[in-house]
Symmetry: C2
Subunit: 105 residues, 2 copies
């Protein structure tokens, strides 16, 4: 079952929610930015420059987290988001590269 923060375990990650999460251009931008960073990078939610309200930002990160695309951790007063790169590559080989290759809109 998902942990207390809503992260699914590897074996709970399903293609449907992953594709639904990636169907949104703002959420693809988060994944694209993280995919371009070194392995293990975590960033604050506000650092992605999404042109949305704080509530909408929180919603987008929840969708990404619950689908299994990102892992969020608290560091001090900040929530940091990192890509579940190795797990996603194991489950869906090539998917992150496809998202990473999309031109910036």
């Amino acid at each position: 079952m998902p942990d207390e923060e809503g992260h699914p375990a590897l074996e709970e990650i399903r293609l449907g929610p992953v594709l639904s999460a990636l169907a949104d251009p703002h959420r693809r931008r988060v994944v694209r930015v993280l995919a371009a960073e070194p392995e293990g990078t975590a960033r604050t939610c506000s650092s992605f420059g999404l042109p949305v309200s704080k509530a909408t930002l929180t919603h987008h990160f929840r969708v990404l987290r619950e689908a299994g695309l990102i892992r969020q951790v608290s560091r001090g007063n900040s929530r940091m988001a990192g890509l579940r790169r190795a797990e996603l590559e194991e489950l869906f080989p090539g998917l992150l590269a496809i998202v990473a290759a999309e031109p910036e809109a």
Copy 2:
């Protein structure tokens, strides 16, 4: 520009509409079934056994067609659907394999 039946040209196919199309389990089933057939196979829309009304079936095939995932042709009184396999593999390497590998729900 898309042709008169709404098929985008290769260079018009975008990741966003493709992922939105694939976010739906019924539409993934169509792609999964076609991906398991020999190259060039075309099937009638009703042959996929989707448990939906005719209007909903038409909608799902329109979304797949306009995203660039399938090509539909008329043969006699039937509309046949085939996968745009080579074009999709060129644009989004590995994506069809990911969809094809999803277990049947």
